[in-house]
């Protein structure tokens, strides 16, 4: 990590990430993750797939997420993904990815564009059916989808049957946190 004199704030505006348990679920603000979008340039799709494979970066199918170390990824749109990596090792994730893909892909820093809240617990669908139009009961355990929660565009990335991440715009972190808390209180 670069040696500089600036101190970061969490998306919720504190020094340390928040966490709270409501009924059977736990909500956690996650800050130790770096993000970059990766989009194949036209005609370079095969090349990107090969380079990603070589670098250990998964490129999951539509509406799916794939975990990995250090790189995980979830699908954004045709030939574009969000790459996830640990923040401590990948703070400048774009600079790390660029040489891996050269000019075959467009790579954009996204780490601080998003707030990530992880929600874990049994029967998550009881909470999320009050938040967004995603059928978690029927959804696979590696679902990655965009959805809307209280007028806020979000990505829902399911990590396991009982655990998922909600990515929302960083500027509305407090509003999203409040929506999650309210739904949890209502559901459980």
């Amino acid at each position: 990590m670069a040696e500089h004199r600036l101190k970061p704030l969490t998306p919720l505006g504190h020094d340390r990430p928040e966490t709270v348990s409501i009924g059977p679920v736990t909500l956690t603000e996650v800050v130790d993750q770096a993000l970059a979008s990766l989009a194949a340039r036209q005609g370079r799709e095969e090349e990107v797939a090969q380079k990603a494979k070589a670098a250990g970066i998964p490129l999951p199918a539509a509406a799916r997420a794939e975990p990995g170390t250090p790189y995980g990824a979830f699908w954004l749109s045709e030939q574009s993904w969000m790459v996830e990596a640990p923040y401590a090792s990948h703070e400048d994730i774009r600079a790390i990815l660029l040489p891996l893909f050269g000019d075959a892909a467009s790579i954009t820093e996204q780490t601080d564009a998003w707030v990530r809240f992880d929600v874990s617990g049994s029967d998550l669908s009881a909470m999320f059916e009050r938040l967004c139009n995603v059928d978690l009961r029927a959804a696979p355990d590696n679902l990655a989808t965009r959805t809307v929660i209280e007028h806020m565009g979000c990505y829902l990335v399911r990590r396991a049957r009982d655990r998922l991440s909600v990515f929302g715009a960083r500027s509305s972190a407090a509003a999203l946190w409040h929506a999650l808390e309210t739904a949890a209180h209502s559901a459980y």
């Binding site: 989009a39 996204q110 564009a113 500027s171 209502s186």
Partner: protein
């Protein structure tokens, strides 16, 4: 009071007693009661007053079709007007008041209108209240408006929480009577994802109100058993207290679940109600049927009910509405009521239309005392407290008609049934399909489920239905009793009588839509559930057309009325829309900043310092300090779009009106974006960070829209261009640093050289700050000052502004808000929101030369139309008051001296007004006809709203440093 009319039996819990009040009088009931059943048990029949004539009324039904027994439920901010006592679940401590009466329910002064009814027939508004001419608005209407409405709102904020949600299923079953339960059992056993919803708090539907057996046990008992089996199936979701309110497109249904209405107050954190959107692949309407009355004179007295309701009160709630009852029927089902009441010890007289008998009148001002019967030409009076009327049953076709499909007339039952396929994926079963026996309900319910299962590709289980009655339903049509002199009610709540329908016919309002609109038939809170078919049958009789030829009006959602709070859910008050906070929000809050809503964002508008008492003091200081030394402003809210790809430059040339291909790496350029109709859409600077990499900025307001349009251009217009887009608005905390000391301040922050040579005007660079944090810097200015925008990863935005303020102390650096930003951009003559109004061209803004005609950019062609290149058209100008002490007002219009204030003399208007502390005067931008030619002219700036005017001088819009020396310094 004692429960004088409570009899044996019923599905109420007599081991517990609930206390409640009605109009301040205390009563008792039991769990399982509705407010209406409990009041009837206590001998209370009078529960409301009608809308127009204030006639005394009691319930006519035992369900959601109730037109009469409407009360104000609960007190204070939870008061809920027009609540149907027939579905309000009793809870301990419930309090209700009657409504639409003064001073009391039994003595209502407004019932004088009943005496004047000859003057108040249908259409009376249109014909009556225009005499004399001027009296309508001044006299009649205020009186009418005061008398309007039924219940009263509390006028207090609703304290309860409402939720919204989304459910998905293979099969939605609407109604948990015998048909719905049979369907649910079949589908549930087959493993389908099933939602079974019923508006009642007790599932079983009509089985709860009947005495006949199902599968060798009581119908209600069988229902309990079926519900129990279903409740153990993980693939079945039982939703009692849930009304399907609407069928919308593609298998989506709206539903309202009343989570807490049976409680005194909702539990903490729990909603009162939830609005669900149910996404179903198939649906079954098993919502039963509603009985309809026969109209006869004075058929609206408390104690006169639908026969099936009388039976329901006896069987389900253990209530005899009267110890002596009459049954007036044209069908076999009415006879069943008579038999059930007799079995409970009620003295019953049956008046069967099919035997040539009819009820012709009734008596009893506040409650039924007797009915007059005509039988074999003789009139006789039968004293009774209750009369059950059955004119037949109407299948509840409503939801099946929400796509405007028309129901179909079924002569065998003299009623409409749902049209086939009116709503794709929805089938009707049981009484809703016109199949009235229990056996038929079970069979059609199971059959509908089986059909849905095979549609869905699921295995159909063997049919396993219990034994049940399969009685015949013979009916002879009878709509009204002819020959009466008084009034016979059709729509009780809205006081539409037989006579009103006849009058509508006489005046040629004979189409059903005209009938509805002329008489208000079916427009009351019950939406005519008991009245509509009767009304149109009467009209059919008058016109000589058949009932199906006459047709029905459109059944419109919602099925029953829905609380506004439920439809709004959590989006209200401060949570109406999410708040977006800037990276410096916490810091600015600590400074006591005043925030302003800019779209979803909250931005610091100004940051007052101790001693400052007006906003102008703060803003003037922020401007002067910036121009004198250096100011800092959070500009993160501007949209930022990352544009990459081999064709990125060519793409920018398409979406911007001015040239971008020539922009060098490491430079920024102001870009002008048009709509295809040639009007200016947005502006901003775009920086070329690399050979194939740009970052575009948009206005705050248009960030999302511009992104959408870029995707449109990329995918629909130029599909082979190699361009990738992604928003980075939130990824970077971006600050403007402006003023003569901007560079000196930033050089203390930035690790690299940012001298004029290293970073000239309109240059951009990737840098590090504060000892190594990666950042970006753009040398751009909207204030006319030497200025930069500096961006760091958002998590460091808070730290950066603190650092800049600390490092800026030696320069007396200031942080400024959006007001000062606005002052400086007007001083510099930059267009912004008020000028970018979606109605103005580049030419209007003085930017006409930016539109390159050498390339085919979006909007170029249509910006050349004659109306948009009119030399006499509006041009952006600067405006100063001749007397600098005078204040300008944005939105004022320009008039020539001496010109009358009429539109023909209008020359334009002031778009943006600020006070320029630099010039010591109010200044403005404006759009002025032939503005370029009027430089130096003196005009009037007129605000007719405030009746003020100011003499102004037209000047260049560039009030400040017109040569641009400062920003290049």
């Amino acid at each position: 009071m004692t429960q004088s009319n409570r009899i044996a039996g019923g599905q109420i819990d007599r081991t517990r007693t609930l206390s409640f009040t009605f109009d301040g009088v205390a009563y008792r009931g039991h769990p399982g009661d509705t407010l209406a059943s409990a009041l009837l048990a206590n001998g209370v029949r009078l529960m409301g007053r009608s809308f127009k004539y204030h006639r005394p009324r009691g319930p006519i039904s035992a369900g959601s079709e109730e037109p009469n027994a409407l009360v104000e439920l609960r007190e204070g901010a939870r008061r809920e007007p027009n609540t149907r006592a027939t579905v309000a679940e009793l809870f301990d401590g419930l309090s209700a008041d009657s409504q639409n009466r003064w001073p009391s329910l039994s003595f209502d002064a407004m019932s004088i209108k009943d005496r004047l009814s000859s003057f108040l027939t249908a259409g009376f508004y249109d014909t009556t209240f225009r005499w004399p001419a001027s009296f309508w608005e001044k006299v009649y209407e205020p009186i009418i408006r005061k008398a309007a409405g039924l219940g009263a709102m509390s006028r207090l904020e609703d304290p309860d929480q409402y939720d919204k949600g989304f459910l998905h299923c293979d099969l939605l079953i609407i109604g948990a009577g015998p048909a719905g339960l049979a369907a649910a059992l079949s589908a549930g056993r087959a493993g389908a994802q099933v939602i079974l919803a019923d508006e009642d708090f007790r599932m079983g539907g009509r089985l709860n109100a009947e005495t006949h057996e199902v599968g060798g046990m009581t119908g209600a008992g069988w229902a309990v058993q079926a519900v129990s089996e279903l409740s153990h199936m993980p693939n079945v979701r039982l939703m009692p207290r849930t009304t399907i309110i609407a069928a919308v497109d593609h298998g989506i249904y709206g539903a309202v679940e009343r989570v807490s209405d049976h409680l005194a107050v909702p539990a903490p954190g729990k909603p009162r109600q939830i609005l669900w959107r149910i996404y179903s692949r198939r649906a079954i309407l098993a919502g039963g049927a509603t009985e309809r009355p026969i109209a006869f004179e004075n058929n609206d007295r408390p104690g006169i009910m639908l026969a099936g309701a009388l039976r329901a009160y006896a069987n389900r709630w253990g209530v005899a509405v009267g110890r002596r009852a009459a049954i007036f029927t044209n069908n076999d089902d009415g006879l069943r009521t008579a038999a059930d009441l007799k079995a409970k010890g009620v003295e019953v007289r049956v008046i069967d239309v099919r035997k040539g008998e009819e009820v012709v009148d009734s008596s009893g001002r506040l409650g039924l005392k007797s009915v007059t019967i005509r039988s074999g030409g003789r009139l006789e009076t039968f004293p009774c407290e209750a009369l059950g009327v059955s004119g037949g049953w109407n299948p509840n076709v409503n939801v099946a008609s929400h796509h405007r499909g028309r129901p179909v007339w079924e002569p065998a039952i003299e009623a409409f049934v749902p049209g086939q396929g009116d709503i794709p994926g929805l089938a009707a079963a049981g009484a809703a399909a016109g199949r009235f026996s229990t056996r038929a309900a079970l069979e059609t319910g199971a059959a509908a489920a089986e059909e849905a299962l095979s549609d869905l590709g699921l295995a159909v289980p063997a049919r396993d239905l219990p034994q049940a009655e399969d009685g015949a339903y013979a009916i002879e049509p009878k709509w009204y009793v002819a020959g009466g002199k008084g009034r016979a009610w059709i729509d009780q709540q809205n006081d539409v009588t037989l006579k009103d329908v006849k009058l509508a016919h006489q005046e040629n309002y004979t189409s059903v839509e005209h009938l509805k609109r002329y008489t208000t038939l079916g427009m009351a809170t019950d939406q005519g559930k008991t009245a509509n078919v009767l009304g149109l049958a009467v009209m059919a009789g008058l016109t000589g057309k058949s009932i199906p030829e006459t047709g029905t009006t459109i059944y419109r959602p919602p099925y029953t009325p829905v609380a506004m709070g439920t439809l709004a859910g959590r989006s209200r008050g401060q949570e109406f829309k999410p708040k977006r906070l800037t990276p410096s929000h916490h810091w600015a809050s600590e400074q006591g900043a005043v925030f302003v809503e800019v779209g979803m964002w909250l931005r610091a508008q100004w940051l007052p310092r101790p001693g400052e008492t007006t906003w102008r003091e703060s803003v003037d200081r922020e401007v002067l300090q910036t121009r004198r030394s250096v100011g800092i402003c959070d500009v993160t809210t501007l949209g930022k779009i990352d544009i990459q790809g081999r064709d990125a430059a060519a793409f920018l040339d398409k979406v911007y009106a001015n040239n971008f291909a020539s922009l060098a790496v490491g430079k920024c350029r102001y870009g002008l974006m048009l709509r295809e109709d040639g009007i200016v859409y947005d502006d901003g600077t775009t920086a070329r960070l690399g050979e194939h990499e740009y970052v575009m900025t948009t206005t705050t307001a248009n960030a999302v829209l511009v992104f959408r349009n870029l995707e449109y251009a990329r995918q629909c217009l130029y599909p082979d261009m190699d361009v990738q887009l992604i928003s980075t608005t939130e990824a970077w905390a971006q600050f403007s640093v402006a003023g003569p000391n901007a560079r000196r301040l930033l050089q203390k922050i930035v690790d690299q050289d940012i001298s004029d040579a290293a970073l000239p005007y309109m240059g951009c660079k990737e840098i590090t700050v504060c000892g190594g944090l990666r950042a970006r810097i753009f040398r751009i200015s909207f204030s006319g000052e030497l200025a930069y925008e500096i961006a760091v990863p958002t998590r460091y935005g808070d730290a950066l502004i603190r650092e800049m303020v600390a490092q800026g102390a030696e320069f007396d650096a200031v942080v400024y808000g959006t007001e000062a930003l606005g002052v400086m951009r007007v001083e510099k003559g930059h267009v912004a929101g008020n000028e970018l109004n979606g109605q103005s061209s580049a030419l209007n803004m003085g930017l006409g030369k930016m539109v390159s005609r050498k390339k085919d950019s979006i909007g170029m062609v249509l910006s050349q139309r004659e109306g948009m290149t009119d030399p006499d058209g509006y041009r952006l100008v600067g405006v100063k008051p001749v007397n600098s002490a005078e204040k300008l007002t944005a939105g004022s219009h320009f008039l020539d001296k001496g010109a009358a204030p009429v539109m023909a003399n209008d020359l334009g208007w002031l778009t943006s007004v600020v006070y320029s502390p630099h010039l010591g005067s109010s200044i403005a931008l404006g759009y002025l006809k032939k503005g370029d030619e009027r430089r130096g002219a003196r005009l009037r700036s007129v605000n007719l709203l405030a009746k003020t005017e100011v003499e102004v001088e037209i000047v260049s819009p560039h009030f400040f440093d017109p040569e641009g020396e400062r920003l290049r310094g």
